[in-house]
């Protein structure tokens, strides 16, 4: 574990999201300062250089996501101004191609579907709605059809919108495998279970499974691991209870799938500080990162336990931004 680079003054306010492009050679960051920055990696020096920087929304920018490169240099940004914007890089810089205005509250996350399903975008906003958009004309990027709109976890009537906004969690993650069709995991609102929703062209979206932790709590982040040849899915969730959980999701019968979820790991390492902010899998789904308000980025890896045929998830290190006391190189 070692530090490789630093951009001392990337934004003038807190960065809400940093998203690598498909190749990891560029990093898009968005911030409360309403701007988006695109940084590009100098492979020789391992340093990052500012490539583009512009004011993207009229409110803090909450989230940003890259489209698959077969659709060009395209990003989507979500703002607290209730809009989702589609941007494309042209010779002169990034051009706003479309503004999606359907959300009735701040949009918290945007994520493009796996490229096999075309140029599709899912968004989740604090009005509780999961929306899926399709780009009608890939070469122009200006027309987007709202093809699905649903409330995956309808709010309990007593939850006032204001507390819902303050205490809720809004997060989505597409299943990266094409084989299973279009699956999206989603949590929205307060203490709502994670719903796995199947989207198909022929029928309305179906909730095929709900992940229910032992004690219900608000899920703030989730991430669907790349399949990479595994016979089951892995989903990671993080919540306001400070727990990082890894779920194994599988079906016994491929023809008439009935889905089951099994909790395979549950870590409370972030619980000391409160909330888990983000969970994310690496490219091959072999390493999970989680961040929390305890101030540490934690990494998790699976190791096979000898003999029993099981797998045990273990800590693979952590990163913080505190003054160094001494290097901790303990062994377990």
């Amino acid at each position: 574990m070692l530090q490789t680079a630093l951009i001392p003054n990337a934004h003038n306010d807190l960065v809400t999201t940093a998203a690598y492009d498909y190749y990891g050679l560029r990093l898009a960051t968005c911030s409360l300062d309403q701007r988006i920055c695109i940084w590009s990696l100098d492979e020789q020096t391992s340093q990052w250089q500012l490539q583009d920087d512009w004011k993207a929304h009229d409110a803090p920018v909450a989230h940003i996501a890259w489209a698959h490169p077969e659709f060009g240099d395209v990003i989507a940004s979500a703002g607290f101004d209730r809009t989702v914007k589609i941007w494309e890089r042209s010779t002169g810089g990034w051009v706003e191609k479309a503004v999606l205005l359907d959300a009735r509250a701040s949009v918290r996350q945007v994520e493009f579907a796996p490229n096999a399903f075309g140029l599709r975008l899912a968004t989740i906003s604090t009005d509780g709605m999961l929306r899926v958009y399709d780009c009608l004309e890939q070469t122009r990027l200006d027309a987007w059809l709202l093809s699905e709109q649903l409330d995956p976890c309808p709010a309990t009537p007593d939850a006032a919108p204001s507390t819902r906004e303050a205490n809720g969690g809004w997060t989505i993650s597409w299943c990266k495998d094409r084989y299973w069709g279009q699956l999206i995991a989603c949590a929205s609102g307060i203490k709502a279970p994670v719903s796995i929703i199947q989207i198909s062209p022929s029928q309305s979206p179906q909730t095929i499974l709900k992940l229910e932790p032992p004690i219900p709590d608000t899920v703030t982040t989730l991430s669907w691991a790349p399949g990479c040849g595994r016979s089951y899915h892995l989903l990671a969730t993080g919540g306001r209870d400070g727990h990082v959980r890894i779920w194994k999701v599988f079906t016994d019968d491929e023809d008439a799938p009935s889905w089951t979820a099994q909790l395979v790991a549950d870590f409370d390492d972030h619980a000391q500080g409160g909330t888990v902010g983000k969970v994310e899998w690496n490219l091959t789904g072999t390493l999970l990162s989680s961040t929390g308000s305890d101030g540490r980025v934690r990494l998790w890896k699976a190791t096979s336990s000898s003999g029993l045929g099981g797998r045990i998830w273990r800590s693979a290190g952590s990163i913080g931004v505190e003054q160094q006391q001494q290097m901790d190189e303990s062994s377990v």
Partner: protein, 707 residues
């Protein structure tokens, strides 16, 4: 697993004070890079719901960290060199699959496995020697010479124990173990020997007896004999007499390598042991009071030596403890003196007994690997090896599986065999340096379905480097080297879907830099027909947006693609048709610009007559024809051609009046900026007039048509 926790610089809070940031509404966040094993870290708002821009400007940093140690140049060299052996091994295993299932146990196979394993050992040795040299280096060594020595001793021990020379699997192992010990853990030291040999009466030195005993224990007959000989000068006649008997015994100690048949060796050993017993009897006759000299009890020391030669286990163990030698030495000496016919399969029992009294050092990974190998516990050895160096565990596991030392069955949960797990861990470490992607995928693609799919991800994320600035089409050919390379790797490993995915991305990227020719090639190669359609649209859009001159400049670039498309039997007809139009239409403009009006005019009519041109382009082509119709020097169309033009014009007029104007006129309208249907129809009237005049010229018959 080694856990490492780091804090990034510059720090944002004092140690243990992050909660202060959290109270101020801040948290930490991170994103994992697909490029390598690194992540971007930043401070984020804790509750985005209350997120308003901060009142004051605060500079926010982005930190980057790698969670693996990125291989340094010397390490990369080691990685690349050993890949060669790994690949040869893989090729051998691939070949084995085509043969009888028992072939891997055959002498031929074992010979190859042994040879390649010895190659590994030699490579590690070279690396160790290189790392030991006091060279001036551009960067400090990432792994010390000591590290490579550990890897070297472990890998060679594995070869000694698990890959004996074919035919010698059942031969006694003691001598080989002692040889291994003498190579890797040299004792007694040469300096000590030099120092002692310079003395006139070395036995007076306190190191004399320990040195001599250890030489005997290690089977170092030359050194043993030298110092035993010095004892012939010892003032005690008793010693001299005993040494006179001992010398020939040490000299004639039967050692396995001196024999061609084990039976002879066993016979000689028995006879020799009898002689040692006789020496013991002789020794016991020395009276107690004569067993000392003025320095020590020489008799006890000599008795230890005889005890070793007699093969007394308890003596060997005690002597080793006294000498500071560890369990390895006891085990090796066991195989030489106690049970000189000790077989590999019986070694673990002996080792277990020895380890009971002299356990390995749990803080010393090398020792733990050695003890696991000695104990016949390959899985345990791998576990420790992976903590020492992922390279070691991966390459050991790779050989252990075909030797039947590891369960080849997949773990029900991970879907991975033990071997694959270790090889994948190594490959994952390699991904910390993206320039090693070629090597990374070789390891990944050797690990079944899971490895293949992980390899696919790495391969697909390898930057294609098509976006070199200002690259013309000629240069693009050079910059698409990566695509070519990845394509050939995909073919080699049968990863067709990856190849297509990459061609598709390459095609989309090239269209944006207007390299239409290459874009079409990649699109065809990916069999991405909708993508091909979009490229054709983009080419035709060049005409609409930028006019015929620029459009024509693309003609030569896209022309060869037509042949490719024809060659590819898979191409869907509709796209062949559309591509043919784009190519031929751009060629017409090229010919027109080169003043080759005859051919241009004749091709134009063909595009209309054979309906290669889509209807929406008819009006544009007809407008183009005006220039040819009005060409003064000669008649470019036959009257039949001219009538064909007229027929198309008629169809457009009639259909437009019937409400299909959009279908026919959409492109023409776009070329006349700011125009509508009316202007387009107006434009077509000039075509009608030109055709009428042309037909009149034909009728007069003075001019001749040059078809």
């Amino acid at each position: 697993m080694r856990v490492k926790n780091i804090d990034l610089v510059p720090p944002l809070v004092e140690a243990g004070k992050f909660h202060e940031l959290a109270q101020a509404g801040q948290t930490i966040s991170a994103s994992l890079s697909p490029y390598n094993n690194s992540l971007a870290v930043h401070i984020a708002p804790l509750e985005p719901s209350s997120s308003k821009p901060s009142a004051i400007v605060q500079e926010e940093a982005l930190y980057f960290a790698s969670y693996d140690d990125i291989p340094s140049s010397e390490r990369r060299l080691f990685i690349a060199d050993t890949l060669v052996i790994f690949s040869m091994f893989k090729t051998m295993l691939k070949g084995a699959k085509l043969r009888d299932s028992s072939w891997l146990q055959s002498r031929d196979a074992l010979e190859i496995i042994r040879k390649l394993s010895v190659d590994y050992v030699n490579f590690i040795k070279e690396c160790w020697i290189h790392a030991s040299q006091p060279l001036s280096r551009s960067e400090p060594l990432q792994f010390t010479a000591e590290h490579y020595r550990s890897v070297y001793s472990s890998f060679s021990l594995f070869v000694v124990l698990c890959i004996p020379e074919p035919g010698y699997e059942d031969a006694p192992v003691g001598e080989e173990l002692m040889e291994w010990l003498n190579i890797h853990f040299i004792e007694p030291s040469t300096e000590e020997g030099d120092q002692l040999s310079s003395l006139d009466s070395p036995w007076e030195d306190e190191n004399f007896w320990p040195y001599l005993t250890r030489s005997i224990l290690r089977g170092l007959s030359k050194a043993s004999l030298f110092f035993l000989n010095t004892l012939l000068q010892h003032p005690s006649e008793d010693i001299q007499d005993l040494v006179k008997t001992l010398l020939p015994l040490v000299e004639t100690h039967p050692r396995l390598p001196q024999f061609t048949a084990e039976r002879d060796f066993a016979y000689a050993s028995r006879k020799w042991k009898d002689k040692v017993k006789a020496l013991r009897v002789e020794m016991d006759r020395i009276p107690e009071e004569s067993r000392f000299d003025e320095f020590c009890n020489w008799w006890d020391s000599l008795s230890d030596i005889v005890g070793i030669l007699e093969g007394r286990g308890e003596v060997i163990q005690r002597v080793c403890q006294d000498l500071g030698a560890d369990w390895k030495e006891v085990c090796a000496a066991w195989g030489v003196f106690v049970d000189n016919r000790l077989r590999r399969q019986d070694l673990p029992d002996v080792v277990a007994d020895v380890l009971d009294n002299m356990p390995p050092d749990p803080t010393h990974l090398e020792d733990m690997i050695h003890s696991a190998l000695f104990s016949g516990r390959p899985e345990q050895a791998l576990k420790h090896a992976s903590e020492l160096d992922l390279w070691l565990s991966a390459h050991l596991a790779d050989i252990m599986e075909p030797l039947g030392l590891l369960d080849a069955e997949s773990n029900s949960e991970s879907g991975l065999s033990r071997r694959d797990e270790y090889v994948l861990s190594y490959a994952e470490y390699l991904h910390s340096d993206p320039t090693l992607w070629r090597i990374t995928i070789v390891y990944l693609y050797s690990c079944g379905k899971i490895g293949e799919e992980q390899g696919d991800e790495i391969l697909m994320r390898t930057p294609l480097r098509l976006d070199a600035p200002n690259s013309g089409e000629m240069q693009l050919d050079a910059v698409s080297e990566v695509v070519k390379e990845i394509s050939s790797i995909c073919r080699e490993h049968g990863r067709e879907l990856v190849r297509r995915a990459i061609c598709k991305i390459a095609s989309a990227t090239l269209v944006r830099s207007k390299a239409y020719g290459l874009a079409i090639s990649y699109s065809v190669s990916a069999e991405d027909w909708p993508g091909l359609g979009r490229i054709i649209d983009a080419v035709l859009e060049e005409y609409i947006q930028n006019g015929p001159v620029i459009f024509a400049s693309h003609a030569s670039k896209i022309a060869p693609s037509l042949e490719e498309v024809h060659a590819s039997s898979q191409t869907e007809a509709i796209f062949v048709h559309r591509l043919m139009f784009a190519v031929r239409y751009s060629q017409i403009h090229k010919m027109r610009l080169e003043q080759d009006f005859c051919t241009a005019a004749s091709d134009l009519v063909t595009l209309l007559r054979d309906e290669i041109a889509p209807r929406s382009w008819w009006p544009v082509l007809l407008c183009d024809s005006v220039e040819f119709l009005q060409y003064g020097p000669k008649l470019l169309f036959s009257s039949a051609d001219a009538i064909e033009l007229l027929r198309k014009l008629e169809e457009i007029s009639i259909r437009s009046s019937q409400g299909s104007a959009e279908d026919y006129l959409v492109v023409l309208i776009r070329t006349i900026k700011g125009a509508g249907i009316k202007e387009a129809l107006e434009r077509l009237k000039t075509v009608r007039l030109a055709i009428a005049r042309y037909l009149a010229r034909c009728t007069v018959g003075v001019e001749k048509h040059y078809g």
